[in-house]
C-alpha cells in the first residue's frame, strides 16, 4: 500500500451522503473484446482505507494480448481456477451500491475506463451497472493545484511523494490511487480551511449511467472490420522478434489505424524498442509508395519506441542516421496536414515529440527526470552562439538548434532552448539565459515552457523591452510584457490541455490580476520608510567584479606565474 503523510485529522475528510470506493481493474487488452481479468476495490471512510477486496475473474475463452500479459502478468493458466464474472456479480454489486439515501462515488485514476469495462461486464450478463458517480484523480489534481509531470499514475504519485508497491496489479494500483486521492483531498481541505468538502465533490463528480452514459461521454472504441490475417496479426505474440515483424508487416500492409499502438505493444524491453525502431525505419526506406499518413503512423510508433529506450547515445544515433533526413520533408506540422501525426490527445505533433526525445538525448548524459542537462552538451546545442559576444565574421557553426530551426521544427527547438536556458539560469547566468530565450522567441519558438521562463524572468528581473537589468519606468511594464508573451504562446497552441498549459494559464491569470490591480496604497500613511543610504564602500558599485570568463581566469594565472624581468627565475 502506498504511504501517505501522517498527522492529519481523518475527520476533515468525512463526506456526508457519499460512499467512496476506489476501483481499478486489469484487462486482457485495450481493443476488441476487452474483459476484466482482475478487479480491486477499496472503501474509504474518513480518509482511511476501511475495507478492500480483490477478485480474479476467469474471462473464458477470449484472446489475451501478450502486451497486457507482459504488464499485469495475468495468464489464462493463472485464471483457470478463478470464478467468472457472473458468479461474482452479486458481490461486486454489493460493493458498488450505496446505503439508502447515499450516493456511491467511484474513485480511480482514469476511472472512466474502469467504469466502462464494468458496465460492459454487466451488459454482457443482461444487467445494468448500479447508478453511481465517478471521481477521477485528474479532477482532484486540478482542484488541489498539483502539477505532475505527466498524466500517468506514476507521475501523480511522484508529484505527491508517494510510491506504488505493486504497479500494474489491480490491488496495487487501487491502493496507490486511494492514497493519491486521500492526499489530494487533504491538500484541497488544507488550502481552504473553511471549505465544504461535500460541495467540492459535488462539483468534481460526474454521474455515470452504464446504459446511457449519463453526463459522461463514453469513449468510443474503434470498430474495425479486420481480415483474418489482420486479426491473427493483432493476436500474435509480439514478444518474439520474428513473430512481431510479421505481425507488424501485416498491420502495415493493411494500413492499420492502430499500428502505432501495436508497435508500442511489442515493446517490453529496450532491445524490443530498438528492433521496432529499426523495423519502422527500414519499412519507410523500403517502400517509396507509403502515404504521408502511414509514414506519420510509423513515426508515432518510433516515437513511442524511443521513449522506452534509456540510452541517449542510441537515440542520437537513430536521429543522426535515420530521422535527420526526414527533418525537412516532415517540416512544420499544420492542423490541415493529413499526416495523422497529431492524433494524440495533447494535440502536439508526434514527430516533434520524437525530436524532443532527441533533444533530451542531446543535452543529457542519461535519461533521468531528475538529472540536470550536461553543461557541455547544452553549450553544443546552440554552437557558435554567445549572446554577450558579437558574432564573428563568417557563417557560425550550426548546432542541433540550427538544424531544427532551419527545418521549421520550432517546437522541438524551443524545447531544447528552454532546457539549456534552465541550466544556465540555475548556474548563475541569468542574463545569458534571458538573452538565449529572447533569441529563440525572436526566432519564432513559442513553446509554453519557453514562454513561462521568459515571462518569469521578465517580471523577476524587471527587464524592459528586452534590455537586461533596465529599471522600468512603469513598474507594471514587465508584467504587461509577460502577459503578452504568454498570450502569444497560448495562441500558438490553441487546442492544448496538458499540465504545462494549465500552469501557463494560472500564471497568466495571476499576472493579469497584478496588471489590473489598483496601485497599492499604504494602509497607514504615517508609516515612514527607511531612506537611509548604505555606508560608503571600498569597492563601490562600479567596481563590483564581473564573473571571470575562462579566458580571463587563464590570463590571470599566466600573469601570476610569469616571472618578473630581472628576477632570479627570469634569469
Amino acid at each position: 500500500m502506498a504511504t501517505s503523510k501522517r498527522g492529519r485529522s481523518p475527520k476533515q475528510l468525512h463526506v456526508k451522503g457519499r460512499r467512496l470506493v476506489v476501483v481499478d481493474c486489469e484487462t486482457n487488452g485495450l481493443y476488441g473484446d476487452v474483459r476484466i481479468l482482475s478487479l480491486a476495490v477499496i472503501e474509504l471512510r474518513n480518509g482511511i482505507a476501511a475495507d478492500s477486496k480483490l477478485w480474479l475473474v476467469n474471462p473464458g475463452n477470449v484472446p489475451m494480448d501478450p502486451g497486457a500479459i507482459a504488464k499485469n502478468g495475468l495468464t489464462a493458466d493463472l485464471l483457470e481456477d478463478a470464478s467468472s464474472f457472473d458468479v461474482l456479480v452479486d458481490e461486486v454489486t454489493q460493493w458498488l451500491t450505496a446505503p439508502e439515501g447515499d450516493t456511491l462515488t467511484l474513485i480511480g485514476h482514469k476511472v472512466s475506463f474502469d467504469a466502462h469495462k464494468l458496465a460492459g461486464e454487466y451488459r454482457r450478463l443482461g444487467l445494468t451497472l448500479p447508478p453511481l458517480q465517478l471521481l477521477d484523480t485528474a479532477k482532484l489534481v486540478e482542484a488541489a493545484h498539483v502539477h505532475p509531470e505527466r498524466k500517468s499514475l506514476e507521475a501523480l504519485l511522484a508529484a505527491l511523494g508517494l510510491t506504488n508497491s505493486a504497479p500494474h496489479t489491480a490491488l496495487g494500483d487501487t491502493a496507490a490511487a486511494a492514497a493519491a486521492a486521500v492526499e489530494l483531498l487533504h491538500r484541497i481541505v488544507e488550502d481552504e480551511k473553511t471549505i465544504d468538502l461535500a460541495a467540492v465533490l459535488d462539483g468534481l463528480c460526474v454521474t455515470y449511467d452504464g446504459e446511457t452514459g449519463g453526463s459522461w461521454v463514453v469513449p468510443v472504441e474503434p470498430e474495425v472490420e479486420l481480415t483474418d490475417a489482420h486479426r491473427s496479426a493483432h493476436l500474435a505474440d509480439l514478444s518474439d522478434g520474428r513473430s512481431r515483424s510479421l505481425a507488424l508487416d501485416v498491420c502495415l500492409g493493411e494500413d492499420c489505424a492502430i499500428l502505432p499502438t501495436r508497435m508500442e505493444d511489442g515493446i517490453i524491453t529496450q532491445a524490443h524498442a530498438r528492433q521496432v525502431t529499426t523495423w519502422a525505419l527500414a519499412s519507410i526506406d523500403a517502400d517509396d509508395t507509403l502515404s504521408r499518413a502511414t509514414i506519420g503512423r510509423l513515426l508515432r510508433g518510433v516515437g513511442q519506441a524511443l521513449r522506452r529506450v534509456e540510452d541517449p547515445e542510441y537515440v542520437l544515433e537513430v536521429y543522426r542516421n535515420e530521422l535527420a533526413p526526414y527533418l525537412d520533408w516532415l517540416g512544420p506540422c499544420t492542423p490541415e496536414d493529413a499526416c495523422e501525426r497529431c492524433a494524440n490527445e495533447s494535440g502536439t505533433c508526434d514527430f516533434d515529440g520524437v525530436l524532443r526525445r532527441c533533444v533530451d538525448a542531446f543535452v543529457q548524459d542519461k535519461f533521468d527526470p531528475f538529472a540536470k542537462p550536461s553543461k557541455k552538451r547544452a553549450s553544443e546545442f546552440l554552437a557558435g552562439y554567445n549572446p554577450k559576444v558579437a558574432r564573428k565574421r563568417g557563417r557560425p557553426k550550426e548546432g542541433f538548434y540550427g538544424e531544427l530551426r532551419r527545418a521549421g521544427h520550432l517546437d522541438a527547438a524551443g524545447y531544447g532552448i528552454a532546457r539549456v536556458a534552465d541550466v544556465r539560469r540555475v548556474e548563475g547566468g541569468r542574463e545569458w539565459a534571458y538573452r538565449l530565450l529572447r533569441k529563440a522567441w525572436d526566432d519564432g519558438c513559442r513553446t509554453p515552457r519557453l514562454a513561462e521562463m521568459l515571462a518569469s524572468m521578465t517580471v523577476v528581473d524587471a527587464v524592459e523591452g528586452g534590455s537586461w537589468g533596465a529599471v522600468p519606468v512603469d513598474p507594471k511594464a514587465p508584467v504587461i510584457e509577460a502577459v503578452s508573451l504568454i498570450d502569444e504562446s497560448l495562441a500558438s497552441y490553441p487546442n492544448q490541455s496538458s499540465h504545462i498549459f494549465e500552469r501557463l494559464d494560472e500564471r497568466r491569470n495571476r499576472l493579469t490580476r497584478v496588471r489590473d490591480a489598483a496601485p497599492r496604497v499604504a494602509r497607514n500613511p504615517t508609516t515612514t520608510l527607511n531612506v537611509r543610504r548604505p555606508h560608503s564602500t571600498i569597492l563601490g558599485r562600479a567596481a563590483m567584479p564581473a564573473k571571470k570568463t575562462a579566458r580571463e581566469a587563464a590570463a590571470t594565472v599566466v600573469k601570476v606565474a610569469a616571472p618578473r624581468a630581472g628576477s632570479r627565475r627570469a634569469r
Partner: protein, 507 residues
C-alpha cells in the same frame, strides 16, 4: 462595587466599578487584592516621550506582539495642544518589563519603562544583544556561532526565537549553518557605525599632532606590515589561493597625556600585498607620516615611493624595522660562519639584546666591529655581503639619526607583528576559507581594530553609539546586503581587484 480581579505581572488586583452621582461616565479603578502580597515599589523610570508631542503626558498602554514577534511596550499620548489622544511606539521600541525584573548586567531592578531598546526599526534583537554579538565577532567568533548565541540570548529575554538550545552537535552545526547570515549582516550594518566615528577621532588626534608649532611638533610614525592567509580555492581541491591582511599602526606622543600612543589604526584585507594594496591603505589613512617603518618588502617600497611622489612638499623618512634588520644581519653572520668559518664573537649577542639599534652610534660601532672582524679573520672580499652593503646599509645609516631624534618612538614593527599574530592570525587560520567578500571582511577587521583599541571593553559605550546612530536616522539602520558580491565571485580572491580599485580611486 467590585468588578472582578485582574492579574498583571504576577500581581492580583481587585477591580471596582465606579458609578459617579454626578454626570460623569462610569469607570473602573483597581487596587491590590486583599490577601495578595503587596508588590515592592519598582524604581521610577520616566515613560517614553511621544515623538510628535514631546511635551505631552504619556502613559504605558499595552504592548504589541505580532504573530512571531517579540512583545514591545506601547504608550498612549495625551497631547497638550488639543490633538486627539493616540497610541504610539517609541522610535526605538522597548521590551516589556515585568514587575520585579532585573537587569542581567547589573542585577538591579528595572523600572517599567526601562526595557531593552530595539537595535533599530525592523530588527527583533535588542541593542545590548547586538553590541555583545559585535564584541564576540571582534574577538574572532564565527558568524554562525555568534548568530546562534544572539538568538539564544533573545530566547532568554523574550521566550521567542526559532533557535532552541540543544546539546546535539549536529543540531548545533545545523543552527550555525542556517544562522550565519544574521551576524554577517550585523557586521555589514553596524561595524561602520562604530568604526567611522572612532577613525575620525583617531585622525583628529593625528591632525592635532601635526598642527602643533614646528618646534613642539611631535613625530608621527607609521608602522606597516602584512600577513598572508591561505585558503583552498574550492572545496575538495588542493589548490590554494591567498589573500593578505595589511596592517597599519601609528605611534606618536600625546602631549595632553604626556605619553606615547601606539595603536593599531587600520586592518585591511586585499587579494595581495602589492604596492597597489598598500597604496589603498595609505590613501585610506589620508595623511603623510614623518616616519614609515616597515620590512623591506617590495609592495611597501612601491607604495612609499608613490607617497613620496604624490606629496613632494612633505618629506618623510622610510626606516627598516629593527626586527627585520636584525634578521638580515643574522642571516649574513650565519652564512659567513658556515661557509667561511667566521667567528662573530659578541656581535650575535648585541643583535640579540637590540643594543645594535639603540642609537646611531651603537649602530656604527656594531658595523665597525663587524667589518674589523671580517678583515681580522681574513674573510675574502668576494665573500662580503656587497649587495647588502650597497643597497641597504646606506638606508640604515640614514635612518638612524632620524630615529635618534625621537627616542621614545618604536624602532621596530614588533608591536604590530605581535598584534597581527595575537588577534588576526588565530581568526584567519580558522576562518580564512570562509571569507570571500572583500567589503564584509574589511568591516570585520574594523571590529577587530576597535577591539584592539579597547572600544569593546565597555559594552554600554558601544550600545550608546548604536542607539545614538539609530535615533539620528529615525530609528533606521543602514540597509543590509548592499555589499554582496556578484554570484559565483569572491572579490577577496580576485587577483585583479586591487589594480581596479587603485584605478577607480585615481591613485
Amino acid at each position: 462595587m467590585k468588578n472582578g480581579t485582574r492579574k498583571v505581572a504576577g500581581v492580583t488586583y481587585q477591580r471596582y466599578l465606579c458609578r459617579p452621582n454626578n454626570s460623569d461616565a462610569a469607570h473602573t479603578l483597581k487596587s491590590y487584592a486583599s490577601g495578595s502580597a503587596t508588590p515592592e515599589p519598582t524604581p521610577y523610570s520616566p515613560p517614553e516621550r511621544c515623538p510628535k508631542h514631546p511635551l505631552s503626558r504619556t502613559v504605558r498602554d499595552g504592548k504589541t506582539k505580532r504573530a512571531r514577534g517579540v512583545e514591545r511596550q506601547r504608550y498612549r499620548c495625551y497631547p497638550n495642544n488639543g490633538d486627539a489622544e493616540h497610541r504610539f511606539t517609541p522610535v526605538l521600541s522597548r521590551l516589556v518589563v515585568d514587575h520585579g525584573e532585573t537587569c542581567p548586567e547589573c542585577s538591579r531592578e528595572r523600572g517599567v519603562n526601562q526595557g531593552d531598546t530595539n537595535v533599530a526599526h525592523g530588527y527583533k534583537f535588542t541593542t545590548r544583544v547586538v553590541a555583545a554579538a559585535l564584541a564576540e565577532l571582534a574577538d574572532g567568533d564565527s558568524y554562525g556561532s555568534t548568530a546562534v548565541w544572539a538568538k539564544q540570548q533573545m530566547l532568554a529575554l523574550t521566550g521567542h526565537t526559532s533557535t532552541r538550545i540543544t546539546s546535539s552537535s549536529r543540531e548545533k552545526s545545523r543552527q550555525r549553518k542556517n544562522s550565519w547570515r544574521l551576524a554577517a549582516d550585523w557586521v555589514e550594518t553596524f561595524s561602520p557605525v562604530l568604526f567611522e566615528p572612532w577613525a575620525a577621532a583617531a585622525r583628529a588626534e593625528v591632525d592635532e599632532a601635526f598642527a602643533q608649532p614646528t618646534k613642539d611638533r611631535q613625530v608621527v610614525s607609521l608602522l606597516l606590515d602584512d600577513i598572508p592567509v591561505f585558503v583552498k580555492a574550492r572545496q575538495g581541491t588542493r589548490q590554494r589561493q591567498r589573500f593578505s591582511v595589511l596592517a597599519a599602526s601609528e605611534s606618536f606622543i600625546d602631549l595632553d597625556k604626556g605619553q606615547r600612543v601606539t595603536r593599531l589604526r587600520l586592518l585591511r584585507a586585499y587579494p595581495d600585498h602589492s604596492g597597489d594594496a598598500y597604496k589603498l591603505v595609505l590613501a585610506e589613512l589620508g595623511y603623510v607620516p614623518d616616519i614609515v617603518m616597515a620590512d623591506g618588502g617590495t609592495g611597501i617600497g612601491a607604495a612609499v615611493r608613490w607617497l613620496e611622489k604624490s606629496n613632494p612638499g612633505k618629506p618623510f623618512a622610510v626606516c627598516l624595522s629593527a626586527y627585520h634588520l636584525r634578521q638580515q644581519l643574522r642571516r649574513q653572520l650565519a652564512k659567513l660562519s658556515s661557509e667561511h668559518n667566521f667567528r662573530p664573537g659578541d656581535l650575535e649577542d648585541r643583535l640579540q639584546n637590540w643594543s645594535f639599534s639603540s642609537s646611531s652610534v651603537a649602530w656604527h660601532t656594531w658595523w665597525g666591529d663587524y667589518e674589523n672582524r671580517m678583515r681580522a679573520q681574513k674573510i675574502a672580499p668576494s665573500a662580503w655581503p656587497h649587495k647588502w652593503i650597497n643597497e641597504v646599509k646606506p638606508r640604515v645609516d640614514a635612518q638612524m639619526p632620524v630615529l635618534d631624534q625621537s627616542r621614545v618612538l618604536p624602532r621596530s614593527t614588533g608591536s604590530l607583528e605581535a598584534t597581527l599574530f595575537d588577534i588576526v592570525k588565530p581568526t584567519m587560520n580558522v576562518r580564512g576559507p570562509g571569507f570571500g567578500n572583500l567589503e564584509r571582511t574589511n568591516r570585520l577587521l574594523d571590529l577587530m581594530t576597535l577591539r584592539a583599541n579597547g572600544v569593546f571593553d565597555n559594552l554600554q559605550t558601544v550600545a550608546n553609539a548604536l542607539v545614538t546612530d539609530a535615533l539620528l536616522h529615525d530609528g533606521f539602520a543602514p540597509p543590509v546586503r548592499s555589499i554582496a558580491d556578484v554570484r559565483m565571485v569572491r572579490s577577496l580572491l580576485d587577483e585583479t581587484m586591487t589594480e581596479r580599485l587603485v584605478k577607480q580611486a585615481g591613485l
